[in-house]
């Protein structure tokens, strides 16, 4: 195998697969990057069993096809610092992966290789080919918005009862839904798919979504194609293919969680409410942050108290005509929702202080927050 490539192009390709390089590989191959030179293009693959990324580069001059599996971290690091504009990479007779650019010369061991060209790595995990027509197709920007609207609400820790570390992705007859929840708040967004018949459903790994959001934006493609494989989901945006393990376990029945509107409907300015929440949260207990939201006709008061440090209260004007109501919330949850909101005007719907409150953060975008309660 031998090819010549632009240094920045190859470095960018490595960045795209970097998240899938296992940092503490249980087998050495999982820490490797597979580099495959086909007749007119180059393919770079990494896989850590949870996620896998395959990236295709067309701007390359292949002199001899072939493939090699090389230590991933070292390859990424070397390319970050190498100085030549064009770099030549080749598999030597001794089975070493040679990187040569300008005055820089590096050799990486190759964990497995073939100079004949046929791709048959033995121990590297198989990354499926995304062939044929996708199960679901969405506009890329729509997909990104859906992820950004739900990913933040997922659980940071492993929950035993539900698979809430992941984002639920559901497609039914052309309508796509994403749901993120950690049991205390829940975000749900619905959008139309470009294509997608029947019913598909999977709980997606946040790590894979992060990879797609971070690098999919740069791909010169307008669509994202989704393939529901056996126990994996594959996504394709242009030359970028990302795969993620499907999270096993039950996802909560989110339909039951979303309140059907509330007695108290308050419309507030997103930015104003955010600012006041931030102000109040400076005076909350570090471990258990609580802000109180009191609504009365045309006004919302946001207050907080830190036992022994002081208290804060501030008011904003809102659109509300109902009776007075006070409820307590974790300010972080409210701020997260407001940050993700699509509209400048948000709606807060409450039934009573101990029942879930619903925020309407955009069109077909709802966020449910469980309030905090106290007996005192």
């Amino acid at each position: 195998m031998k090819f010549l490539i632009d240094r920045t192009a190859f470095r960018d390709a490595l960045q795209r697969v970097e998240m899938a390089i296992d940092r503490k590989p249980s087998r050495p191959e999982l820490g490797g990057v597979l580099v495959e030179a086909v007749n007119d293009h180059l393919i770079v693959v990494a896989s850590d069993l949870d996620i896998a990324v395959r990236y295709r580069l067309d701007q390359v001059q292949i002199e001899e096809p072939g493939w090699a599996l090389v230590p991933g971290r070292e390859l990424v690091d070397v390319f970050r610092d190498i100085e030549a504009d064009a770099v030549s990479l080749a598999l030597t007779d001794k089975g070493q992966f040679e990187i040569h650019g300008g005055e820089d010369h590096c050799f990486l061991v190759s964990m497995e290789n073939s100079s004949q060209g046929a791709l048959e790595p033995e121990r590297f995990p198989e990354v499926p080919a995304l062939a044929g027509e996708a199960d679901v197709t969405l506009e890329k920007d729509v997909f990104m918005q859906m992820v950004n609207s739900t990913r933040f609400a997922t659980s940071r820790v492993h929950e035993t009862r539900f698979a809430t570390e992941g984002v639920l992705f559901e497609v039914q007859d052309g309508e796509a839904t994403m749901v993120g929840t950690d049991g205390r708040r829940l975000a749900v967004i619905r959008r139309s798919a470009v294509r997608g018949e029947g019913r598909r459903r999977a709980v997606l790994l946040p790590k894979m979504l992060d990879q797609i959001v971070r690098f999919g934006q740069d791909e010169p493609a307008d669509l994202i194609e989704v393939f529901f494989l056996n126990n994996r989901v594959g996504f394709r945006i242009g030359n970028l293919e990302s795969f993620g393990r499907v999270l096993e376990g039950e996802f909560p029945n989110y339909g039951n969680v979303i309140p059907q509107g509330g007695k108290h409907v308050v419309r507030a300015h997103r930015e104003a409410m955010s600012r006041k929440l931030k102000l109040a949260s400076h005076l909350t207990q570090d471990a258990a942050a609580v802000v109180r939201i009191a609504v009365s006709p045309d006004a919302m008061e946001i207050s907080a108290e830190h036992e022994g440090r002081g208290r804060a209260a501030s008011k904003i004007e809102v659109d509300y005509t109902g009776s007075g109501l006070t409820a307590a919330f974790n300010p972080v949850y409210l701020l997260d929702g407001l940050r993700a909101a699509h509209a400048e005007q948000v709606e807060l719907q409450m039934e009573e202080p101990t029942r879930p409150a619903k925020m309407v953060l955009g069109e077909d975008y709802e966020y449910v927050v469980m309030p905090l309660s106290t007996f005192a």
């Binding site: 049991g183 207990q285 471990a287 609580v290 974790n330």
Partner: protein, 407 residues
């Protein structure tokens, strides 16, 4: 714990105590009371008790909490004044406003008593006694009230020193002299040693703090358990409790309930029901104070006075009986293994934090249970603890305390 740069060695703590405070305030209002035996408290017809007595009245043997009728019998010339707590509150605030100019670290323990930490104010007052003397002068000149101050390296000794200096006094225990100062004092002068402990110490021929300080610590541990060695350290004048200003929340305490049974029992059903009842009472107090508990401990004492206790830490803090009960029962189950009658059962909630309860969207059962608990508390507030009972505890009401025999 030393605050800031001041190490335990050079701390300088003041215990300030207003002399016969209520009476002194009344005398500011009505100077004709000066020099006469005066008490503050309700009239004898309304079964009033002495809330405060002037030193002149104390000379007649009148003490706080004594029935007013008895006080008047002891001293026929006694002048009685109805208390005006609003006035005392104002006077107290005026005093502490003056003291607050010396150090921000003031811990007010009651209306007429406080600890001040003067550590690190050496540039203003190289000697804490000078600051104390000036405080006393200022309070006397500006408010016409008398202040007694004890100065020492720690809270404990400053408190004993001020009691020693009372009334109208100032006493400093120099660093290093703590044990020598305490040694000749009777054991009950040490805060924390009450009448029961005093009696036991006297039984063991330990009448003075010096003797307590010199007693073998293994012996004290044998007699008083873990409190023994701690008591001894205090008798030597060792104490590192910080002075806590009001902005520093107090460390969480515990809330507990225990009961010694009228009749020793080995009936596990009875014990479980009792635990249920004690826990319900403790949890209700927890909720009333807006606290959450993270730790539960259950204690048993057998008829032969052997005690046993176990504790556990919950994954999340809660104030809900339902969530506390299962782990508490589990502790009891693991414990009650001896085939001996049980005479006492107690439950204690610890790891307390002020906080709100975060409900779950996915587990509405818990939120429903909470609404139920709130409703039950409401009923119990109006009609008493036994107005609503858990099924399991119903037969506790039977006078025998025994499970009803199956029909």
């Amino acid at each position: 714990m030393a605050r800031g740069a001041a190490s335990a060695r050079d701390r300088s703590i003041l215990h300030v105590d207003l002399d016969a405070f209520f009476v002194a305030v009344e005398r500011v209002r009505d100077p004709s009371l000066v020099g006469r035996p005066v008490v503050v408290g309700g009239p004898p017809e309304r079964r009033g008790v002495v809330a405060a007595a002037s030193y002149e009245a104390r000379a007649y043997g009148i003490r706080s909490a004594m029935p007013m009728a008895q006080a008047q019998r002891l001293c026929p010339d006694l002048v009685r004044v109805d208390g005006s707590h609003r006035l005392y509150g104002r006077a107290s605030r005026a005093v502490f406003a003056l003291l607050g100019a010396y150090t921000p670290i003031v811990e007010k323990v009651s209306v007429d008593e406080a600890y001040l930490d003067l550590s690190g104010t050496g540039l203003l007052f190289p000697r804490a006694v000078d600051a104390a003397e000036r405080m006393r002068r200022e309070v006397r000149e500006r408010l016409r009230l008398d202040l007694t101050v004890g100065v020492a390296r720690n809270r404990l000794v400053s408190k004993v020193a001020s009691a020693f200096a009372k009334p109208q006094g100032l006493f400093e225990v120099r660093p290093g002299q703590e044990a020598r100062f305490l040694a000749p004092l009777p054991v009950q002068r040490l805060p924390g040693i009450g009448p029961v402990t005093t009696r036991r110490l006297l039984d063991f021929r330990i009448p003075r703090l010096g003797v307590l300080a010199a007693t073998e610590s293994w012996f004290l541990e044998e007699v008083f358990g873990e409190h023994g060695p701690a008591m001894q350290r205090r008798a030597r004048g060792e104490d590192d409790t910080p002075v806590r200003p009001p902005w520093e929340p107090h460390e969480a305490r515990t809330i507990g309930h225990e009961e010694t049974f009228a009749q020793d029992t080995e009936d596990h059903g009875f014990l479980r029901a009792k635990l249920h009842e004690l826990l319900a009472a403790a949890a209700r107090r927890l909720r009333a104070q807006g606290l959450l508990a993270r730790k539960i401990s259950v204690r048993l004492r057998y008829a032969d006075f052997v005690s046993e206790s176990r504790d556990t830490t919950l994954p999340v803090a809660t104030d809900h009986d339902g969530e506390l009960l299962a782990p508490a029962l589990e502790l009891l189950h693991r414990m009650a293994t001896r085939r001996t009658l049980v005479r006492l059962l107690g439950v204690r909630l610890g790891g307390l934090s002020r906080g709100y309860w975060q409900g779950s969207l996915l587990d509405p059962r818990r939120a429903r249970e909470r609404r139920l608990v709130a409703a039950l508390d409401g009923i119990r507030d109006r009609h008493g603890m036994s107005a609503v009972r858990a099924g399991e505890t119903v037969w506790l009401r039977r006078p025998s305390g025994r499970r009803p025999a199956p029909a």
